[in-house]
Symmetry: C2
Subunit: 384 residues, 2 copies
């Protein structure tokens, strides 16, 4: 078990009707920039609830933030926020809106180019306070201090973290899940699943409580996924379990004292940056490769995963691991996601590009840097 | 699933050697009151580590806080803290020291009688900031805003909570467990176990992630308890798992959206107040009674508990529940704790006293107030 530090100050307001409570969380008279995406919140009623809750504030809207929020879009929001001298930002959306808002909140208080935060040239000195109304369970960004920002002009996508990156509050109203398209639910389930395995399928010797928590999130996802992706109305309890799982999956609760991986995510980011694939889809493609290629290093945890999550105990170690990997891939496919590079017309060229990018950046990924560029190539090659 | 609000600002510093880091958490030059108990910290080296870490501060010591911290003792600490005009309190100990420190921190800033906080006559307006060095995993007080205070003069023991009751930081160094007496380890394991069941063995329909988290804490305790209570040196990993389980068991992580019980605790508090029994012992006595008498109301969760925690699935519902209750009681007994009132010379008189106290206070306990004074009497009667 590793030594660790943990602190998470985010206030969670969970449940149907909780959007109204943001009136108590933002000072009356504040000038609030409301950030959102393509406008689905105007169709499902969330926009109206938020506007009603902000009746004591002045609201400046910035809509149109895209999936995988783009540097150029966010720079326009920063410019607007500076000229309007806003006091607070309210992100209404999923992970892309929240991540973009973290970049905006940091950039508004910064005179230089906030891309410096992404490349590590500068640390975020201060950030504007911001809150969240979550509409899509997936990234956990509503309760952590991380974000992932894309730059389409250079086909790049990078994570960044900062001490000022925690929302002051996040509203989690499960009814937002009722109207989500199948594709977004599938992506959110996969994203949550793989956030959890990135913190779990690493080395033996993690705190036992963390192992059980991680297995609990994974088992929950496997249980609720068929109902959430079936035809017909979704039930409140399933939507609530989904939202809980997504938030708990990446708020630091599972990371205490454990080794973390994140190779699947970092490789997946490249597939999005180069080909525009949905984040969840990239994870479903890459995960099996990471587990297959790194199976010796991860053997103890893969066997534990097979037993505790899938109930697989029969056979040799390799047979058990194969069955667990297959069960997982079938789970992703059962959500309607294709899990091969060739399904998306991606081939050798892209593998070579990703390998050379990681070599250039001198990135060794995974727990203890065990996923070298050689391994990355092998991981992607077995996903052709 | 219930609506809920969650926020926990405590910074956790976990691992061997972390005591030295409190030097970064308390401003140099501060006047710090260090609270502790009977002096075990002087024998196991923790006192010396804390003093070394506080080399840039002025330290005022207040030792001698007893188990089940007493109002009179704590009032002396408040008096000392006021006259010395201290800036910060550092609790070095287990739940009793931390709980007592929460009362001191609230009382120092209050002109009236701080017993008003306990009876609900007054709310805590402000409190002095305080930190924790945990020496005994059990109560979870190191990461929550609750405390339990005793008043020996009137044989009373009550919990209180307040918004200013969170430590600013807590150091969790598992090596503190190495030298703990068997009795304290047994009590801490039982206390953590029953904190968890108070938040788990209630009604069906809790968030699935919460159910899995709770079962994970319980399974961890059952797994590590035999090693922690055996003869011979304790291993770091077991001590760390114990400390993690105790803190996660009562820091709000398991309580999100769930119905909570706490009848076993409230009845147990009376046994301590009237007879001086260890808190953990009172829980081990009362728990079986609560589960036996409330088995119909708790049936769905007791069956789930039997299956997920003990692997019991054969038999009728009542047979399964009986086996799960028996397994739990055997677990407590395996730690060397006797679980009958008669083992401690306690009989009908005490049951009558507790019943009449609860009637006078108009207390209906348990989830949704289902544990009436009638039920309390029945619970205790089957523990004679």
């Amino acid at each position: 078990m590793n030594n660790f530090q943990f602190q998470n100050p985010v206030k969670i307001l969970f449940g149907e009707g909780k959007i109204a409570e943001i009136a108590h969380e933002i000072a009356a008279g504040s000038k609030v920039m409301m950030t959102y995406g393509g406008g689905s919140i105007k169709r499902n009623g969330i926009y109206d609830q938020v506007i009603a809750a902000l009746s004591q504030c002045q609201v400046i809207e910035f809509g149109g933030i895209e999936a995988n929020p783009d540097y150029d879009t966010l720079m326009r929001a920063i410019s607007l926020g500076k000229s309007e001298e806003i006091d607070f930002i309210l992100a209404v959306g999923g992970g892309s809106i929240i991540d973009g808002t973290k970049f905006i909140a940091a950039g508004i208080n910064y005179d230089g180019d906030p891309w410096d935060f992404i490349t590590g040239k500068a640390k975020v000195p201060t950030a504007l306070p911001f809150g969240v109304v979550l509409t899509l369970p997936a990234t956990g960004s509503e309760m952590n201090n991380g974000a992932v920002i894309s730059r389409r002009a250079t086909k790049e996508k990078y994570p960044f973290h900062n001490d000022n990156g925690f929302p002051t509050f996040s509203v989690l109203d499960p009814t937002a899940v009722y109207s989500l398209p199948h594709r977004q639910v599938a992506n959110g389930l996969i994203d949550t699943f793989i956030h959890t395995t990135e913190q779990y399928l690493t080395t033996a010797g993690s705190p036992k409580v963390m192992d059980r928590f991680a297995e609990g999130v994974l088992r929950t996802l496997i249980e609720i996924a068929p109902r959430l992706t079936a035809e017909g109305d979704r039930k409140y309890a399933d939507c609530a379990d989904f939202m809980m799982a997504a938030t708990m999956g990446l708020n630091g609760f599972l990371a205490m004292g454990v080794d973390e991986d994140w190779a699947t995510h970092m490789i997946g980011h490249e597939l999005t940056a180069l080909h525009g694939l949905d984040h969840g889809v990239t994870l479903a493609i890459v995960w099996e490769g990471t587990m297959h290629i790194m199976r010796r290093e991860k053997e103890a945890k893969l066997l534990q995963y097979a037993k505790e999550v899938w109930g697989i105990t029969e056979g040799s170690a390799d047979e058990i691991i194969d069955k667990a990997i297959d069960s997982t891939e079938h789970f992703f496919q059962s959500l309607g996601v294709k899990t091969r590079l060739s399904d998306y017309g991606i081939g050798e060229d892209t593998i070579a590009t990703i390998r050379s990018r990681f070599e250039m950046r001198k990135w060794n990924l995974g727990e203890h840097g065990i996923v070298t560029p050689d391994k990355v190539e092998a991981i992607l090659r077995c996903r052709l």
